[in-house]
Every structure is written in structure tokens, then in C-alpha cells.
Symmetry: none
Subunit: 414 residues, 2 copies
């Protein structure tokens, strides 16, 4: 079976948004052994959409559409396909109720055009939308299957994995399984990783190894094909062991995890606890940590001490420390980490102070970062970083380094 | 003139990377008045690439290719187009020298396949690569123009803006300027906005109005075409005035701004100051506010009070309040906002408390949010929200609502 992914939306052709849906769906389809030979993007225009559908029908068995299911006039995916394949639209009672409930709950008045979202093609499998109003659908006609998904990724992604993917697995007659696993690394550059794995990267056929750098991290996707899922997984396992034998010290987790998420897992596992005092990062570390469900088991709270007054009054940094060393200093980072740990009665205290940019701070160039790490019963450590990039980039990478140091410290307990 | 953007690379069809090049080029082309009706992605496969080229030639004047110009065997864009349009490849001396210099400089041994990158089509305009080795090219044949660009964005983007764009402006017989402006709205749904603007949306031709929903916000892109830039801007201005006359109360800013950024601008303008106590949002509000350069002029710090102990000890919420009303309550939100405002000596205090999910909290379903808003000399207000979506989505939208309420309050000062 091979598929074509068709994104519908003039905003894509105007460069207003990026087609991230095609990437997500391609990954998902590869995992279940469906080949993707083309992506197409077409605007909110009926004639051009029909042209794209005909073209895709000539070369693919499965057509997956994203976008154009909403309530407004330029949302025309469903109507166009309905006409094209001759399947009239009918109201889906469950979808209609779910839309009415949504408006009742949010207390927004429901305008009539919202009912349009509950229209589905006759004899289609309705795909519920758990994060929005417009349902998706899967419909088969002659030799083709058509899947219609909403445009917003936070609606489309769960709809695909929860509802469309199981339907597809039912349709597939024979599956050559494509399994893949992403290994995530922090603290190593892409070119160093490539050098360490050079012979493996040159010799690769099945499994394949694909390194990718981004956001200060490097990932390695290992992909194996085999008729047997177990055999494919075994091939991945072997490749992974060889990779980790060489660069395992930089490895921190699999697939879509993040450093903050791994830190949360390890803090829970160790029945540990943490508090934070953030100047440079302004709450970003604590925000990422509490994005993990169940964070309350290891995190009680912390301080955002942006000004020197806040550092003194809320975290009791000594006046003398600030006067003598400044806020961008090992001494200030150490006091912040230690004091916030005591203040919240936690096992760990971490602090972030520095110059995020674009202007220098206290004579330190943008990207100068001090991280303090205090652990009950141990001497407080400090780490200095010189990061490049934008203000937002410096802050994000500082948080990643903080998680990285904490993970290293936690691993010493086991 | 209309264009089609064709990205070549199997890594795109496997979902390993996102086609950000199409977004960049679409924006660039819109700016110089070239319509884009389709994006296509095709793999490193000669037959399928030829199929995509033929299809694009049937519907576009200008074909822009990204990717497939590198040294390896699967880089076949140049070779395929050369055969297809019958323009043989010849060595470009300048490109060859630049490649040899690159290897000499990095002291890496130059493998023979790298010479391949210096091949260009006869009678083409060579586009230098200032950030990599493979040059691009522009070639005209019959009624079509073909532009070949490298795949990596950091090579492609400067090549397009420095070399391809000026060539395109030369080719264009008459330049019709396309200007556009995005208006951002919060607190109004896409369907309500459309209902308010229905007659404008139906009548639209030039300028066009395109509403788009995402992340709890709605944007409206106004796009006008005219030979004179000033006239196009004037058309946008008129459309904007009519739009704002109807839904101006929900408007908060232009183009790529955010609610947090607008809040920062207004806090600065009013010489005001703010402090925050965050439970539900765990530091996200403060993190977004301090992502704006110069935040120290209106923000000194705040508290992340995730546990009830932290609410009591760090923000002095009364034991009785928590016992009687719980943490997810108007009473708790009000005390948090008022107390943190006093603690930091700020004009405004804001608080976020609630159930982010996935589990209910104190019997309240996920998405239940209380926001407290305290202003010096005024009675503290509280707002209740019932949000749907993921944990991360609830937290993000709660922060947006907080900014929205503060912006409304600040606008009352003027």
C-alpha cells in the first residue's frame, strides 16, 4: 500500500504556517509499513483541490488529507471529496452533540456555521476529535481509501494515533513492518557523533541510522524493516547496543521524551525532591518540570528572582555577594541554589543566573550562564556556560543543561 | 507568474525532517507578487521526480526545487532536470575552486564525488553558495524557468535572498506587489469572527481576508495586490479599519507578536510593574514575560507555589482558605494575587491555580482554572475558566487568558 499526504490550506501556500502534519503522518505511516511517495499542498480552491485529488488517485492507494474541515467558508475539503467520489454528506449525531457540548461548556454562543462541522460522508468511519470540534473520517470507494483529518496538529495527531491508525492496520493485508526508535543525546555535537559512528553510518542498509541535530540536542533514528516485528525490533536492539557502547554517556532517552521529562522520572524513582531559584530563565525550568503530570510528588515550588531585590528578599542572597561578585557569578548561583533548597526543604536546589541577551549584563556578554546545584549533605557545585544564539535559545539551552547536570547527579545515587 | 515549489528528498517522505523550505520560499514569493498554487515533496527517485516535474510544468511557469544538489548518489535533482529539458551539465570553474578551497581550509581530504557538486547546466545563471559547497542555478527553457536550490535551510535561504530573488525580479515583466498584514485576536472563536465579518469574507477579492485559528487564538491575514506598494498598504489599512470597527475589542496586535509581548509593551508604556504567583502554570507566565528583552523594567520576580505548603509558606495563603475552599477556588486565587503583589511591591499581582490534568484535582475536572488579578488600590478580581485539551494546552491557554485580562485592565488606565 502506498499513500499520498495532501495538505489543504492557502495559509500554507502563503508561507504563514509550516506543514508539520506531513512530517508527523509520514513517520506514523513508515512505522506501519505504508510507503509515502508524494506530499502535496494545495490551497482553499475547489478546482485545484480536485486536480490534486485526481493526480493522487493515479499514483496512490491511500489519500490522507489534512485541513479544511472547519466551520468557515474556505473549509472545503469534505465537500469537495464528497462531490468528487459521489458520497453525500449527512449529519453525524455524536459529532453534533459533541460540538453542542463544547459550546455549552465554554459558554460561547454557537453560531450556525458550526453545525457544518458535524457533516460526514455517508458510509464513512467517523474518527472522533478529542481535542476539537470537527470529526475526521475514513471512506473507501473503489480501489482508494480517503482519510480526512483536521488541520491543527493538536487535534490531528491524537485523532490519527487513536482512531485512524487502528483502522489502517485493519485494512492492510500484508505488512512489512518498519520499526524505528529514536535515541536522544545531549552534550555531544552532531559531527562528533557522526565521527564516532562513521563506519556504522557508511555500512548501514537495514537497519538505517539517521542522525539529526536541533535545539542543542542530537538524535539518532534507527529504522529496521522485516516481515516479523520481533525480528525488526531485534535488529534495532543490536544497532542500539553498538551505538551506546560508543556514545552512551551522552544518551538520555528515547523517542519524544525531553530532558525535563527524564528528570521528572528519575526524581520520582529516587523519591527525591527539588526546588529552583530562577533569574535568567524566569520560571522556564519550573514550567517545564511541572508540565509533567504528577510533578507534585517531587516539586513543591520555587522562586523567580529576576531583580537583585528579589534575590535578596525572596532567596536571602547576601547583599555583600551581589555587591562584590554581581548577580552573574558562581557565588550568587551557589547561594541561590543552596538557599532555595533550604527554603523549600528539598533534596536538590538548582539556580539559573546570567545574561540572556540581547544586551550584556554587568559586563558579561549575552550567553554567559551560571547554574548552581545544591544537594543536601553535599557541597554546592556551580557550572559556567558560554552559549550562543538568541535570548530564547540561551534560556532554553540553559534549562537543558540544568536538567543534564541533575540527571548526572541523580545517576550517582544508584 | 505562478510558481510551484518542489522539495526533493526521501528524508521528508520518511518524516525525518519538516519541509520548512516551502514556507520560507512561499513567503518570499508572495512578497514579490508570485502566486504559489502547489507545494510538492518527492523522494530521491528519478522516475517519480520526472513525474512531478511534468505535472508542475503543466500548471506553473516557475519551478523551484530544493534539495538533491549534494555529492552523494541519491542527489539527483540536477541530473534529472538536465536530462529532462535537454541541457547538458558542465563544470563551473568558480564553483569547483570554491569546493577545493573549502576542503583545503577544513583540512579534510576531498573525495572525488565532491567534484560533482560543481556541475551546472549549460546556459544557466549560477547562484553562488555562501554557506556550503553546492551552487544553485536558474535556467530558462521554452516557457518555463527552473530554479535549483540546496536543501539545508542555512544554505538555501541566503542563496535565495541574495542571488535568486534579484534574478526573479529581473525576469518579472511587471511587478505586482503583494502586501499582507496579520491581525491577532484573543477571546473570540474563529466561527464568531467569521460571522461578524461574513459579508466582507463573501465579497472579498482584493484585498483578501483569511481567518485562521490555532492555539486558542484567531488571526486574520489581510492581503492586497497592487502595482504600487503604497496603494496596496492603503487597501489593507481600509480593510483593517472596517474589521476593527466590528471586532476590535478582541484585537491585540500585529503579525508575529504574542499576548505576553504586548503585555510587556503596555506595562513598560504605563511605567507599571507586576508580580505573579503560579500554581497551575508552574512558572510559565513569568517565563513568557521574561522572554521579552528589558523585562526587568516592570518585573522583579514571583513565586511558583505548586504545593499547598508553598502557597501557605511562600505566599501566606491562609490555612483556613485552603481548608474551606481548596486550592482550586476564587478565594485562593484572590489571596495569591493580592499577597504576591504586596510581597514584591508591584502595581499588579496575578495568580493561576487550577487542575491542569490529566487527573481531576480536589474534585474539579481537568481544565478548571482560576485566575486572580489584584491591582493596587482596587478590589481583587477573579476569573474562572473551563478549558479543554491537553495538560500543556490548558496551561498555555491559561497564561494567554491572564495576559488578556491584564491588557484589558491596563487599557482602562489610558
Amino acid at each position: 500500500m502506498n499513500a499520498e499526504i495532501i495538505a489543504v490550506g492557502s495559509e500554507l501556500l502563503l508561507g504563514q504556517i509550516t506543514n508539520t502534519n506531513a512530517k508527523f503522518l509520514s513517520q506514523q505511516l513508515a512505522e506501519i509499513g505504508i510507503n509515502v511517495y508524494y506530499h502535496t499542498v494545495v490551497g482553499d480552491n475547489k478546482e485545484r483541490l480536485i486536480h490534486a485529488i485526481r493526480e493522487a488517485e493515479s499514483r496512490a492507494d491511500l489519500l490522507i488529507f489534512t485541513g479544511g474541515l472547519g466551520p468557515t467558508k474556505d473549509d472545503l475539503t469534505k465537500e469537495t471529496i464528497s462531490t468528487h467520489i459521489g458520497r453525500p454528506l449527512v449529519y453525524d449525531q455524536a459529532a453534533l452533540e459533541s460540538i453542542e457540548n463544547y459550546f455549552a461548556k465554554t459558554r460561547i454562543t454557537m453560531t450556525p456555521n458550526n453545525r457544518k462541522q458535524a457533516l460526514v460522508m455517508e458510509k464513512s468511519v467517523v474518527l472522533p476529535n478529542d481535542y476539537g470540534m470537527a470529526p475526521g473520517m475514513l471512506v473507501k470507494k473503489n480501489k482508494h481509501a480517503y482519510i480526512l483529518l483536521p488541520g491543527p496538529p493538536r487535534e490531528m495527531q491524537p485523532m490519527f494515533t487513536s482512531y485512524a491508525r487502528p483502522e489502517l492496520l485493519n485494512i492492510l493485508e500484508k505488512v512489512e513492518k518498519i520499526e524505528s526508535r529514536v535515541l536522544r543525546f545531549f552534550g555531544i555535537g552532531e559531527s562528533t557523533l557522526e565521527t564516532e559512528l562513521e563506519d556504522l553510518l557508511i555500512a548501514q542498509q537495514n537497519p538505517t541510522l539517521a542522525p539529526l541535530a536541533g535545539d542543542g540536542e542530537v538524535t539518532l533514528r534507527i529504522t529496521a524493516k522485516h516481515e516479523s516485528e520481533a525480528a525488526a525490533l531485534q535488529m534495532i536492539q543490536q544497532a542500539e547496543e553498538e551505538v551506546l557502547r560508543r556514545v552512551g554517556e551522552y544518551f538520555y532517552g528515547y523517542n519524544d521524551t525531553t530532558l525535563a521529562r527524564e528528570l521528572a522520572v528519575h526524581l520520582k524513582k529516587h523519591n527525591s525532591s527539588i526546588a529552583a531559584a530562577e533569574s535568567l530563565t524566569g520560571g522556564l525550568f519550573q514550567s517545564e518540570l511541572t508540565d509533567v503530570p504528577g510533578a507534585s510528588s517531587f516539586f513543591s515550588g520555587g522562586i523567580v528572582c529576576y531583580s537583585n531585590e528579589a534575590k535578596k528578599e525572596l532567596v536571602k542572597v547576601k547583599e555583600e555577594t551581589l555587591a562584590r561578585y554581581g548577580a552573574v557569578s558562581a557565588e550568587c548561583a551557589a547561594e541561590l541554589a543552596e538557599n532555595v533548597r533550604r527554603l523549600l526543604g528539598a533534596e536538590f536546589g538548582i539556580s539559573f543566573t546570567g545574561a540572556a541577551g540581547p544586551e550584556p549584563l554587568e559586563g558579561h556578554p549575552p550567553g554567559t550562564v551560571w547554574i548552581g546545584l545544591s544537594r543536601k549533605g553535599k557541597e554546592t557545585e556551580t557550572f559556567k556556560l558560554s552559549l550562543s544564539g538568541s535570548r530564547a535559545g540561551v534560556r532554553k539551552r540553559a534549562v537543558k543543561y540544568g536538567c543534564h547536570y541533575l540527571l548526572a547527579e541523580l545517576s550517582q545515587k544508584t
